[in-house]
Symmetry: C2
Subunit: 315 residues, 2 copies
């Protein structure tokens, strides 16, 4: 069994990250409680800086670099929120950020990275091209590579969303997150482990990309053959740093179909009046799918982010 | 000059209404401050019960009825938020609500009223048919008629949104609201008058339905020939109870074009991550249109509501 990071490591991350991120609000809705049969506490990371929880991990990872490392900058490859998070976190801390983006990434995402002064390198959209380009920048500049989910500092940074939620609502029975690369799930599981009072961690995952579910079942990291889910933040797979944490601390993963994700997303928009990404609706979809598990429980839900293209909404 | 309701009447309304409504959050955004050149404080009445500020006026009006009046119920005609507000407020207070709705009202609005146990009467979509049906119900049941905007109790109830905003941010230089029927604008102007510190009240209005602007210019209540604006909550006109308050207390009304409303709405959705009605974007559109007026000022903006049909978004 792998050694978990300690409670004091988590608390140090919390103290380190908090001055640089928003303490996001926790939303409730009588109607969504009635519909689900549970007491739901939505942690609104869509209101986080740059619109997603990933700001937390990026901030923590950069703060943990030495002064010399910071001088050389940071590099990552991303088609989504982590590129924006690294760019904004680096800008806030006076560090240069090199962001490798696939040439077919939405222009709105490239513009966001550029608006945070991220240095963009475009490449082919294959994972090989992305990794090769990042590696090349790392070697040329001495920049530190940051992985979006399989990095202990990123995991501990993400965990602070769970710590905040449990500070506000210490008696949660369950916390449920979406799972894609595993960095949020592992972090929140650590938060529940150290700061919860018998609080169980669960995840929702799209059936179309159920690699994490299969990884837990088989005990080895599994991959996805297709990545066709609407929940575009969840198409990736677990890594060797977050998987052992997930194995030890996560109770179960509930898989949901695409139409269930869409229906849950619509309910969140209509009833909570907030803009959330499809990925953020996956845990709520899981609750609606398996209500007996959550009945009369106090359930925290991490709303992972709110960066959507309004011109291409799925409704 | 008409006599304004007193400060103590406003404070009584605040004490009366507060236990029955949400204290809605005030949102800020560094980016929207940069774009506008002002310090903006968005009062999120989209998070209010039933999704709009109109809950406040409906609650105050029903609470001000005598016990005998309450036994006979309340009646209104509405194709929009006020019908829902009266239905939910009445349900919360154990009062019967009769809601006259045009037969072509969106089914989503009829369902919402029905879900709050409102007794729906459908009628032709003319104003004459709506008024005749409401009158008939009033005579048959003894129910008290509630007007959505031209009623002093409704105005004082709406004013509580402004009081809450000024309690949280006492040094606002300006508060700006949308103006349709005038009930929100008159109420918030009273709040700024009694609770602000030199706080000026302004409004944004669609150019397509600029009756309130013309009413202020001419000194008499004006009407709209067309009601073609996307801001469907603002198609109505002022009334003889709210107009004198607006005349005395409102500094000016800024008119905006349809594309300006849409651009402002999109910025609010994208950057604040909240779901708001087109009407709610009109004040922010006014600020973007006339930035010199607001430069470096602390500006409160009432986000009036968030009830939109996600299947028919204008983006």
């Amino acid at each position: 069994m792998a050694v978990l990071p300690s409670k004091s490591e988590l608390q140090e991350a919390y103290a380190r990250v908090s001055p640089h991120v928003h303490k996001t609000p926790v939303l409730t809705s009588r109607l969504l409680n009635e519909i689900s049969g549970a007491q739901l506490y939505f942690k609104g990371e869509n209101f986080q800086r740059m619109g997603a929880f990933k700001m937390r991990g990026a901030i923590n990872a950069i703060l943990n670099l030495t002064d010399d490392q910071r001088k050389n900058g940071v590099v990552t490859h991303s088609s989504g929120n982590f590129g924006q998070a690294v760019a904004l976190a680096a800008q806030s801390l006076g560090v240069t950020a090199y962001i490798v983006m696939p040439e077919n990434a939405p222009s709105v995402k490239k513009k966001a990275v550029a608006s945070y002064n991220g240095q963009i390198t475009e490449c082919e959209s294959t994972i090989e091209a992305r990794e090769a380009n990042a590696k090349s920048i790392e070697q040329q500049t001495g920049a530190s590579f940051l992985h979006p989910s399989n990095d202990m500092d990123v995991i501990l940074g993400n965990a602070t969303a769970g710590v905040e939620l449990l500070e506000a609502h210490p008696n949660l029975d369950i916390i449920i997150t979406p799972v894609g690369g595993g960095g949020l799930l592992a972090g929140v599981a650590l938060a529940a482990h150290y700061h919860g009072s018998g609080c169980v961690t669960m995840a929702g995952e799209p059936m179309q990309v159920d690699d994490a579910y299969r990884s837990l079942q088989t005990g080895t990291i599994q991959y996805n053959e297709k990545t066709t889910t609407i929940a575009d933040g969840l198409r990736t797979h677990l890594g060797d740093i977050n998987f052992p944490i997930i194995q030890q601390l996560v109770d179960s993963i509930i898989r949901v179909e695409e139409d269930e994700i869409l229906a849950a997303m619509k309910l969140i928009w209509e009833r909570l009046k907030i803009v959330v990404e499809p990925s953020s609706a996956v845990p709520f979809a899981a609750i609606l799918k398996q209500p007996a598990t959550f009945k009369d429980k106090k359930v925290g839900i991490i709303i992972s982010g709110g960066n959507v293209d309004l011109a291409h909404l799925p409704f």
